[in-house]
Amino acid sequence: MRADRVRGHLDGLLMAVLEQGPLHGYAIITAVQQRSGGVLDLRTGTIYPALNKLERLGLLTSSWESVGERRRRSYRLTDAGRRSLAEERTAWREFTMAIGSVLNPGAQPRSAI
């Protein structure tokens, strides 16, 4: 899937992989890759400014943790982030249902009939 299609959903993807618990940047990249089956074509470096933005909005918190002589930043979803993720999921379901109803008129979901 092309990068420009993914970009609009990056915030939701990042929050979704942080739902289970705190992760650092590289682990977030790996989690998105694994969940998507490697289909998403995304420049992985773009997640860092996106994580900064989500933290500025209060949807994530972060803290430094030491790993040997190195240190790395770990991100955690806030309560506001969980609410925002739930809204993202609802909006995505409504969107895919609407598009699916148009593209596949014969296979309309029961709720849309």
Partner: protein, 241 residues
């Protein structure tokens, strides 16, 4: 994301430590140096962003080496997956520009009300001033303080718009530039207030308080003016990238 299925492992077992690349030939170091050169913003925010990107690149290289790549090939692949500095810079600079705009807005929002209060204290404790220069200076500085106060309110609004309100409202793309020029105006007003209060302190009977207000105006100017200048630069850069 093309590296699906890479192994992840403990960060301390860094394979590059066993197979170090020459610094000048290391694509990761070149990538970091190029990105560092092109980005501008608050020093701490920029250093944090660069450190995180370096850490992510290092971990990606390590994962490729664990998967059987040579160090050189692993570094090239990691850089390609991460995106070139040209691909990453716009997003990074956008965040750094907002960080700089918030820094400038905080500087204005915190110093302007104190400056106004300081001036009010200086003028209210010298009610007997009836000489022409101190009186004119009082009126002039009062107008400056009013202007700076209005800018402080704008700065506070900008902090809200770029903070939690941004969850619901899109951040106007020109907001950082607007904050930059508001901060520049506040910095000029603070500089003029410094001169005005310094002259007034030479003529006022209760000069220590007026001189103290002038000193505070000078400190405010020294804090706000460089921050506004940096904000103008970041805003221009964010639009150019």
């Amino acid at each position: 994301m093309s590296a699906h299925g890479r192994q992840t492992g403990p960060a301390e077992a860094h394979p590059l430590e066993a197979h170090p690349l020459e610094a000048e030939a290391d694509p990761v170091e070149k990538h970091i140096a190029d990105l560092t050169a092109v980005l501008h913003g608050p020093a701490r925010a920029k250093a944090r962003m660069i450190e995180e990107i370096r850490d992510g690149l290092t971990e990606t290289v390590a994962a490729h080496i664990r998967g059987g790549s040579t160090p050189t090939r692993a570094a090239d692949d990691a850089v390609r997956e991460f995106g070139t500095p040209e691909e990453l810079a716009p997003g990074c600079q956008r965040e750094l520009t907002i960080a700089q705009a918030r820094h400038t807005a905080w500087a204005v929002a915190l110093t302007a009300p104190l400056l106004a209060a300081c001036w009010y204290l200086a003028s209210s404790t010298a009610p007997g001033q009836d000489g022409p220069v101190p009186r004119a200076a009082q009126l002039f500085a009062t107008q400056l303080a009013t202007a700076v106060g209005a800018i402080a309110l704008l700065a506070a609004l900008a902090l809200a718009v770029t903070g939690t309100l941004a969850r619901r409202l899109p951040t106007p793309p020109r907001l950082p530039l607007a904050i930059a020029w508001a901060g520049t105006t506040a910095g000029v007003a603070m500089g003029v207030a410094t001169l005005t209060l310094t002259v007034a302190s030479l003529l006022a009977t209760d000069w220590p308080l007026v001189a103290l207000a002038g000193a505070f105006a000078a400190v405010s100017h020294a804090v706000v003016a460089p921050s506004a200048r940096a904000c103008r630069r970041c805003a221009r850069l964010a639009r150019a990238l």
